[in-house]
């Protein structure tokens, strides 16, 4: 695994500068019930294909950002900061 990832702040870097933060999911609130919490804590969608996910530039700017990546080919289609105008659904 040696693909390149474009950090929105620093530009294209080797994937080893980053830490993978998992799929982007909505965290259930206290009012959503125990089953919703269990599902969030224990299950992942584990998509074979394109998904939105969190990445942390631990070897660079030290900021979290979102990436749209194909988990089968490691092609990264888009990256954006949480503060950017457009956010994924």
């Amino acid at each position: 695994m040696s693909f390149l990832l474009r950090c929105p702040n620093c530009g294209e870097r080797s994937v080893y500068e980053f830490r993978f933060g998992g799929e982007i999911r909505k965290r259930p609130g206290p009012e959503d019930g125990y089953d919703a919490f269990l599902h969030y804590a224990l299950y992942k969608r584990n998509v074979a294909g394109v998904q939105w996910e969190w990445w942390y530039h631990r070897g660079g700017c030290g900021e979290w950002f979102k990436a749209n990546r194909n988990t089968l080919t490691n092609e990264v289609n888009q990256t954006l900061l949480p503060t950017d105008e457009e956010q994924p659904g």
Binding site: S2, P30, Y40, Y56, R58, G62, E63, N74
Partner: protein
């Protein structure tokens, strides 16, 4: 001109300028270079291009060196070796060279370099060089990787490339793989020194493969005899080294190719006695060296059999690129290679027709494997080991594929090839490892510890003093322990994480991430904090001080500073809150001054009122200490009155010296991690990661009070709410041993011979004059007085559970 002299099995061998070790040995008359892996068959030079395993020797203690690519150099000590020897599997009847000397640490120099180029051209032959010049003429940055010591093509072409400012050339450099993201790995060998290799990490915009094609052998009985060589090898001996390879030669192969070879051999003075098509070959004759070639019509007497073999595109690196686009140029793309049938003579399936030279796999072995139902290239490879060793399929794959086609009736295309994976050619582990400069983290007080005779320990990348002094560890630790309990001691806690969290949403963030409430912590107060994950598992602990209404100062355990920082950043980013988080760890020197006489020592260094009335336990404040701005927290991990003093890193060394000077009158001692472990164990203070594991929650650790369940929400709240209602499955308890020897941390706990848990920390307590510890046990054992047994290396250590804290249960010493 100085003569080049090297040792071969202890005897001197002279080499000419331009000789490789192999050519020099051949010149001096050596014909048997090694004995084969399983059957001990003599092997001699075959390819002279580094594509076969036959010329491997031991050079200056390093085994498996290809002598045909190693330039001869004075002073080398070269030993013959057996091929890929696995000691203990030798048959005594089989001929062998003496066993190689054991591997030892030899002189080496491994370097890594990281480069980026628009275009990488793999292969510096004429077609590759043309491609490089064409690219460079368009203004791109180009690099050429060539595995030989010089570029190919004409002198003029090579000079043009070397002189071009837009082209960088690496000679003696093989590309071993193209990885995801067009990352290329290549190794450049410096032959002027032993074991000197540079690993190149190249990011390429475009990859041009110009690796050409290599010649492969024919499969017939005794094809592996010394004296049976590929035409490439024979021509190299003549052209590069001026060596006449033999007296009488027979050529095998197609008329067009062999005609050119014949002409060169005859110019060199070799008598060519025959030129035969491969399908007519029966076997080569000879014991240790070829004496003749038997065909279906006639037997030739010869001391040299030249195989004019088929050319195979050297496309391994293309396969390794796994679908990433590369450009093929020249013979590797099939250019100039006429397709011809690879014909298998009758004896191809005999036991003496060696298909895989590296693993001694015969044509018969391959045929039997196919007939047993394993007629697939990947199965043949795995069952016979064909293609799994040094030559990586170069000498054996063609024959195996054609045998498979012949026997199963599949076409060559249907048979296919095995999956090619990098690295090809092989890479040494040394080259991959590089110089191994592992990061070391040091606190600002590091030098002081050295001067005080610290015995160091590693905590991740950090160095910490385990204890101080030259004597026996237990004695030194006891002295440090007693200093803290009876007088005063000072420990450097600079490795622990220190994080500043500030901003309008700082309190909100801490309330979410930690289990207790911090937005209501008064300014100037400190609180113990625990961080749990969503399942309620303890991940880290530390302290949080409120510095001002929107600013907090966090401490974490040594190993978790980076994690806590990332975790806080993530929740801030996800929520869109306004918080600035700064990892101050390296920028601060921090030390813990503890003991019943600590106040007297510290008061000499500061005007700040340290009385309990003014500075109670769990207070935080700013003050000048030893003449520099500092912050102080009154906390007590070791169970004595004490202060954690924090200053900017650049003043750390100065502060430490001043504390030692101020404490000299009461014999204050520096204490290390080991003493601290004993001191805190007597207070039953946990160390996260030692006394807790990946499943521990606060309730079973006896720390249920850290979870403030009436907060609206925090990470772990739902899980902890549930856990609070559920019966505990295990508990962390204290225990005392009957004996005086401490078994190690991690020893299992047994009750009536059955394991019920394990001891997390075990130490001798000078206070109780007993061995004490903490352990996980089930609820059945948790009552004070219950008998349990620790076991280590077959020895049982009877113990009993103790409910009270071992030292100062009321905590009076902390609040003096």
């Amino acid at each position: 001109m100085e003569q080049i002299l090297f040792a071969w099995n202890g005897n001197p061998v002279a080499a000419e300028p331009g000789d490789t070790v192999a050519s020099a040995l051949y010149r001096s008359g050596v014909r048997t270079f090694t004995y084969s892996y399983q059957r001990g068959r003599p092997r001699g030079l075959l390819c002279l291009t580094g594509s076969c395993p036959n010329c491997m020797v031991n050079v200056d203690g390093v085994p498996n060196v290809r002598s045909c690519t190693l330039p001869a150099r004075s002073g080398l000590s070269v030993l013959a070796q057996n091929q890929n020897v696995y000691r203990g599997f030798d048959s005594p009847a089989v001929k062998r060279f003496p066993a190689a000397p054991p591997l030892s640490e030899s002189a080496h120099h491994y370097e890594h370099i990281y480069l980026q180029f628009d275009v990488v051209v793999i292969g510096g032959g004429p077609r590759g060089l043309e491609a490089a010049l064409e690219s460079a003429s368009r203004g791109t940055q180009v690099v050429v990787l060539e595995k030989e010591p010089a570029l190919g093509g004409s002198e003029a072409l090579a000079q043009k490339v070397l002189a071009h400012p837009g082209i960088t050339t690496f000679l003696n450099c093989s590309c071993f793989g193209v990885y995801e993201g067009n990352l290329l790995g290549a190794v450049q060998i410096d032959y002027s020194r032993p074991n000197a290799e540079t690993l190149l990490h190249l990011r390429a915009g475009n990859v041009v493969v110009a690796t050409g094609a290599y010649e492969t052998q024919y499969l017939f009985a005794n094809n592996d005899l010394p004296g049976v060589m590929l035409s490439t090898a024979v021509l190299r001996l003549i052209r590069r080294h001026g060596i006449v390879p033999g007296k009488r030669a027979v050529l095998i192969g197609e008329a067009e190719q062999s005609a050119q070879v014949r002409a060169e051999l005859e110019s060199a003075g070799v008598q060519v006695v025959g030129s035969v098509p491969v399908e007519s070959v029966v076997n080569a004759e000879g014991a240790d060296h070829v004496t003749g070639l038997v065909t279906d019509t006639v037997t030739y007497e010869a001391d040299l059999v030249v195989m004019c073999g088929p050319l195979v595109p050297d496309a391994g690196v293309v396969a390794s690129a796994r679908g990433q686009a590369v450009t093929l140029v020249g013979a590797v793309g099939g250019e100039g290679i006429t397709q011809r049938d690879y014909l298998l003579p009758q004896s191809a399936q005999s036991a003496d027709a060696i298909a895989c030279l590296c693993m001694d796999v015969s044509g018969q072995d391959v045929a039997e494997t196919i007939e047993a139902g394993m007629g697939h290239v990947e199965l043949i490879k795995r069952f016979t080991k064909l293609g799994k060793s040094a030559c990586q399929g170069r000498m054996c794959q063609t024959a195996a594929i054609h045998l498979c086609s012949q026997i199963t009736g599949q076409t060559i295309a249907q048979v296919g090839t095995t999956v090619a994976r990098p690295p090809a050619p092989p890479v040494t582990l040394g080259a991959l490892a590089g110089m191994r400069h592992h990061p070391v983290r040091r606190t600002p007080v590091h030098d002081q510890h050295d001067r005080l005779g610290a015995v160091w320990m590693d905590m991740g990348e950090w160095k910490r003093p385990r204890y101080y002094g030259k004597g026996n560890q237990d004695e030194c630790v006891e002295q440090e322990y007693r200093a803290v309990r009876e007088r005063a001691g000072i420990i450097d806690v600079g490795t622990l994480g220190k994080i500043e969290v500030k901003g309008v949403d700082a309190g909100r963030l801490l309330d979410l991430v930690f289990t207790h409430e911090f937005s209501t912590l008064p300014v100037g107060r400190v609180r113990y904090c625990v961080l749990c994950d969503e399942l309620g598992t303890i991940v880290d602990d530390g302290t949080i001080s409120r510095v001002d209404p929107q600013r907090y100062f966090l401490t974490t355990t040594t190993g978790n500073a980076d994690f806590v920082h990332q975790w806080l950043e993530w929740w801030t980013a996800a929520a869109g809150w306004k918080v600035t988080i700064t990892n101050l760890t390296a920028g601060l020197a921090s030390m813990n001054l503890a003991g019943p006489l600590a106040r007297g020592v510290l008061q000499q260094l500061t005007d700040s009122d340290l009385s309990s009335r003014s500075f109670p336990y769990m207070d935080w404040r700013r003050a000048s200490v030893a003449g520099v701005p500092a912050t102080m927290m009154r906390i007590g991990f070791v169970g004595e009155m004490g202060w954690e003093i924090v200053v900017a890193a650049e003043f750390g060394s100065h502060l430490w010296e001043q504390v030692l000077r101020a404490g000299a009158a009461v014999d204050l001692r520096p204490f290390g991690v080991e003493a601290q472990r004993v001191l805190r164990l007597e207070k039953k203070h946990i160390v996260v990661g030692v006394d807790t594991d990946a499943l521990s929650n606060p309730y079973e650790a006896g720390m249920g009070w850290v979870a403030k369940l009436d907060k609206t929400d925090f990470i772990g709240k739902v899980a902890l709410s549930r856990l609070k209602q559920s019966p505990l499955e295990r508990l962390l308890v204290g225990f005392e041993l009957e004996g005086a020897t401490a078994p190690p941390d991690g020893s299992p706990i047994l009750v009536e011979g059955k394991p019920v848990g394990w001891a997390t920390s075990v130490r001798y307590s000078w206070q109780k004059e007993k061995v004490i510890g903490m352990a996980w046990v089930t609820p059945a054992e948790a009552k004070g007085g219950t008998g349990i047994t620790l076991r280590s290396e077959g020895v049982d250590y009877p113990a009993r559970v103790v409910e009270e804290v071992f030292y100062d249960p009321a905590g009076d010493r902390l609040k003096m």
